[in-house]
Amino acid sequence: MPEYKAPQRDMQFVLNEVLDVENHYQNLPGCDEATPDMVAAIMEEGAKFAERVLSPLNQVGDQQGCQFNDGQVTTPDGFKEAYQQFVEGGWPSLAHDPQWGGQGLPESLGILINEMVGTANWSWSMYPGLSHGAMNTLEAHGTDQQKQTYLTKLVSGEWTGTMCLTEPHCGTDLGMLRTKAEPQADGSYKVSGTKIFISAGEHDMADNIVHIVLARLPDAPEGTKGISLFIVPKFLPTADGGVGERNGVSCGSIEHKMGIHGNSTCVMNFDGATGFLIGPPNKGLNCMFTFMNTARLGTALQGLAHAEWGFQNSLTYAKERLQMRSLTGPKAPDRAADPIIVHPEVRKLLLTQKAIAEGGRALIYLSALQVDKAHMAEDPAERAEADGLLAFLTPIAKAFLTELGFESANHGLQVYGGHGYISEWGMEQNVRDSRISMLYEGTTQIQALDLLGRKVLMTQGEALKGFTKIVHKFCQAHSDEQPMQEFLEPLNKLNKEWGELTMKIGMKAMQNRDEVGAASVDYLMYSGYVTLAYLWARMAQVAQQKLAAGEGDTAFYQAKLTTARFYFQRLLPRTRSLVETMLSGADNLMALDEDHFQF
């Protein structure tokens, strides 16, 4: 049976030792509750829930999947009860406004809990995950009355939420969406259209489901500037806030799919369903953008989740599985063969997963702290700065970490050999489950265009400069630490090269916009490797410092250093190949005539 243990030591390391979260929370108004002992207590309880309640349901969810019967969806055994426990524990309320029943804790703490919940059971975690998206929408753009009616129920967890964007003919290009909303005399709207791929669109875990729907008003302009946001509840609320009449929205079917079987992916039919406008008309996409980064960070987390899960289980296996002898002579002479962890190539598989999971954790937490600051910092300049940094890091975290999360999940399977391919061990599920993360919340290609086109080139490189400055400052600050040179030297070089590459692509793009597209994914991956190198260097620096001071757990810090070294010597060199390909131009992609692909 695969297992998950929340890596609390590493989580604490990143939070406290690398990112100094105590200081961070103390400087944010309203976060004084989040003291280190409180954070530790919350983490501990979240870990228990993830390990004991959710982790054992992960395989069940995959094997049973969701069942569809005449508009109703039944979730796998245990999912509903686990959700009930989650609600009783008050977890949905963590990062929300106390005015609506929330605990008012910072968003970053919620992300910390999501890491454990999501790693233990990604499919399950999507039900509260989608609610969180709906809550953020309502919190930012709803009227007080809408908050009173819907937000309080979502915060308490009694109801869940969805995000209904995608339609059969449009996923990436939401400007084409057709779902209509007709104004009614009473101020409500009649919403009609078909949405597909709606996660958690229908299920049996809560009394009501609040759909947040993108649709068009009758007089709306074409394209993305004509989209509005609506609340469409499955059951219309009664005057006293209870569950009333059934609304005209129903689930037509659920998808049979590659992974995340425990989460329902629904076709949702809106047949003149009663809806309520949120935010200004035709500004729906702008409204969505206000928390797009937070939502995408939530998906970036999936990369970390599958890397961590694969790593934990394949590590256990690699120590137990006996096969062949070490090339340098038997390491377990009294046994029939050596455990496979003695083989260099098996270690490469393990270390890659470890470096991605731990580096990814640092990247997610760093971004999460920017979410806090962007929302809560007193000083507007500080808020703006954090928002900018978050906007820059988000596409990197989302696309890079999910791509490497998938690679890591694959490595996890590889460690198990043929047994990895057999369902019982859970490793093939991990690969299948991880695959979706590169598709939803904006595909890798779309994130890459967002990074290179919108975030970097459109700001004339300002966003990139903002980040490379941070990296540069870090390198400067530790330039006299001799043992850090092995990390700082390559990091400094890449940090400079990053700007030069951007210039080169920018120049080419002035002649031909396809150059942006042609370089985008390679550019994003390059950016990911450099960003992670910065974080690994920071972690190495803390480890060096602790070792030099003789503080704490020596083995832990040694392992950090060794993993940092692995990252710099085995993963970071991938940037060399990316540089070549990203600069190779659009021609090698565009030259082939569309009709000649077949030859």
Binding site: K5, M38, A41, E45, G89, G90, Q103, D334, R335
Partner: protein, 249 residues
């Protein structure tokens, strides 16, 4: 009715125990610590008594350095009302612990005192019994069920031969066994409330108890590594080996 629960900070049951290189003790540096599982059950029982309207207040106490406040907070998050820490530099032996608890009992005058039957670090299983001797109260150890009726506690005990039920006049002492209940998960709002619940700190000296060591730890050694097993061809061979080689039957 007031219930007093005494809890201990021990190493987490998931942690693999390591022995210090000089064999002087178990190595606890940077080891994850937790509430002793039997103590957690004791807290749960007290909270359930309160929820059932039988107990009116649940007081939780722990003895040790400042760090034990973490475990007191954990108990408060599970539903206890207030905490008492008896500050000591190190973890005292069972008899000193029992004496300190007896002092608190004198001050607090609880009707029921619930303890874990043993702590998973030293596995002594004696504090509850010592406390009973010191206070002269009745004891129901290894409890798998506790019922309060009028002025009595009916305690079902897990004994070697099965179950035994004893009736204890209150105030009384109960020590919890594994099957007494299944502790809840602390809810997020309760974790946050726990921080605001009162927690008194007293020193052992203030209570007038002198901490004495009655035993001396000479050496700690990890259990011998398990030797590889062998296959036997028949039941006769197995019996023979058990008799003549292993000498266990």
């Amino acid at each position: 009715m007031k219930v007093l629960v005494a809890v201990k900070r021990v190493l987490d049951h998931n942690v693999k125990v390591r022995v210090k290189s000089d064999h002087s003790d178990v190595d606890l540096t940077n080891i994850k610590m937790a509430l002793n599982p039997f103590c957690e059950i004791a807290v749960e029982e007290a909270v359930r008594l309160k929820e059932a309207g039988i107990a009116t207040e649940v007081v939780v106490m722990s003895i040790g350095p400042k760090a034990v406040q973490e475990q007191i907070r954990t108990a408060l998050a599970l539903g206890a009302d207030r905490g008492i820490q008896i500050e000591t530099d190190t973890m005292p032996e069972s008899l000193s612990v029992a004496k300190l608890i007896a002092k608190v009992v004198e001050d607090e005058r609880p009707s029921l005192i619930i303890l874990g039957k043993q702590a998973i670090d030293s596995d002594n299983n004696q504090t509850g019994q010592m406390l009973a001797a010191l206070t002269g109260m009745g004891q129901g150890t290894f409890a798998s069920d506790v019922e309060i009726q009028d002025n009595e506690a009916l305690v079902t005990r897990e004994v070697d031969g099965g179950l035994q039920t004893v009736a204890l006049r209150l105030p009384a002492i109960v020590t919890s066994d594994l099957r007494l209940n299944e502790p809840r998960y602390a809810s997020l709002p309760n974790i946050m409330k726990a921080k605001k619940k009162p927690l008194d700190v007293k020193s052992a000296a203030e209570l007038g108890i002198e901490l004495r060591a009655h035993t001396e730890l000479l050496k700690v050694e990890p259990p011998a590594e398990r030797q590889g097993g062998i296959k036997v061809a028949s039941v006769e061979e197995l019996v023979d080996k058990l008799k003549n080689e292993a000498k266990v039957i």
